[in-house]
């Protein structure tokens, strides 16, 4: 092999700031049990959730993304980045993407800004994109936000989904750094299976429904506007894909599972996270979790966990961490990261 400039080690992408935000209004299991045929005990036993936060009427995903992004920028000690990547599947509008609005409201004028749509795997996909932007030299710093408001697409009368989702946003700042530096992101494992898109689906609102004919009459059946979820099938695919992907990324990183510091799984359901940890042989006290307090926040769940860990100084510089996610699509993905140096 003849060396060429591309062989020269380029910059690494390094995490340097975290921020999280959930809306003020909290909805407890007891409140849901008042209007749905369910109970606090059933919800906790099946999902691990005790409460979730819900966006105020008139609010939007961008509001949460801006709040989390501002905190992450503050934690990183910077006011500028070259790009804003927003992982969301509940954008403010079908068009345009939500990221440019978020960037402008954060004062990041003229930064590259776009959305990544991989649903609950969106943050891990977004982290791969942000890492690639930095490694390729396209940008020296990136604000990556995962934000979703699934309570806006949940049928309030559907006890299987209404109990599950909460709204929130989490954000990280990445900068160019040296390979091996604490906070480095990668390697990654990403995958999808579109033949199973029906397992988690919001049927209406996109081109397939809109091109199908006249607008529905007033008072039409709105069930197609809401998220449909096949819980049993999703459970199996989620456990299998998240554990398989986490093992793949551990192998790519050269980290034996018993040397892993922390597992950060998407907070789909506590039972899924527990089954994944069991298959990987990782003790429960090495698995970050916040689903009890915030529910399934979709693309926000992993960065929300990271932001909490950062604020609580739960992790130590250099700790080996694997993020693993699964979502509608189907999509899945995992990332190996090391924990960055403590903030001042």
């Amino acid at each position: 092999m003849h060396p060429f400039p591309g062989d020269a080690p380029g910059p690494a992408a390094v995490l340097c700031g975290f921020g999280g935000w959930v809306p003020e209004r909290e909805v407890t299991n007891a409140e849901l049990a008042d209007r749905l045929d369910t109970s606090d005990e059933w919800i906790r036993q099946r999902t691990g959730i005790t409460s979730r936060h819900v966006i105020a009427p008139g609010g939007a995903t961008s509001d949460l993304a801006v709040a989390a992004g501002r905190r992450a920028l503050g934690a990183a000690g910077t006011r500028t980045v070259d790009a804003v990547v927003l992982a969301t599947s509940t954008p403010d509008h079908i068009s345009p993407a939500t990221a440019p609005d978020v960037a402008s409201r954060l004062g990041l004028h003229e930064a590259a800004a776009f959305d990544v749509g991989a649903v609950c795997s969106g943050f891990v996909y977004g982290l791969a994109v942000a890492t690639s932007l930095i490694r390729a030299g396209i940008g020296g710093s990136v604000l990556l936000i995962g934000a979703d408001t699934y309570t806006t697409v949940v049928d309030p009368g559907d006890r299987t989904t209404a109990i599950l989702f909460g709204d929130g946003a989490g954000a990280v700042v990445l900068r160019a750094g040296a390979p091996g530096e604490p906070g480095e992101t990668g390697p990654f494992d990403l995958g999808s299976d579109g033949t199973l898109k029906h397992l988690i689906l919001v049927p209406n609102g996109g081109s397939r429904q809109r091109s199908s004919g006249a607008l529905p009459p007033a008072g039409h059946d709105r069930s197609g506007d809401y998220v449909r979820l096949n819980g049993g099938e999703v459970f199996k695919h989620a456990v299998r894909r998240m554990s398989g992907s986490a093992l793949a990324v551990l192998d790519l990183a050269g980290w034996p599972p018993d040397k892993l510091g922390w597992l950060v799984p998407h907070q789909a359901n506590q039972r899924i996270a527990a089954a994944v940890a069991h298959r990987l042989g990782i003790a429960e006290d090495r698995v970050l979790s916040n689903i009890a307090r915030v529910g399934n926040t979709a693309g926000a769940s992993i960065p929300l966990l990271l932001a909490e860990a950062w604020e609580q100084r739960l992790l130590t510089e250099g700790d080996r961490v694997v993020l693993t996610a699964f979502g509608a699509g189907l999509t899945w993905g995992s990332a190996a990261i090391t924990w960055p140096a403590a903030h001042p």
């Binding site: 036993q45 099946r46 819980g231 049993g232 039972r271």
Partner: protein
């Protein structure tokens, strides 16, 4: 053939032991409940536990125990017999 369908063959016993071990270790089913005549519906499993069990069996055998809907009336003996015979129910 008659022996192969009973729960008394060595293969069946091996599958029964695997199944009982799994149900006890992962799902905390008390050992005294894990008899060949015990029906799955009496073991205190919820639907997510059943899905995880299906996944674990699929990892070990390459097929799921219930190929159709989960049947709570299936006994551990019937399940062990099917696993030993290399097919689902």
């Amino acid at each position: 053939m008659t022996e192969a369908r009973s729960t008394g063959t060595t293969q069946d016993q091996g599958s029964l032991g695997m199944l009982s071990g799994l149900l006890h270790a992962r799902f905390e089913v008390p050992l005294e409940l894990l008899t060949p005549d015990a029906e799955f519906g009496t073991l205190g499993l919820d639907s997510l536990s059943v899905e995880e069990l299906q996944l674990m069996i699929s990892d070990n055998y390459g097929f799921e125990l219930w190929t159709g809907d989960y049947d709570p009336g299936t006994t551990l003996g019937q399940a062990a017999e099917a696993l030993a015979a290399g097919h689902g129910l």
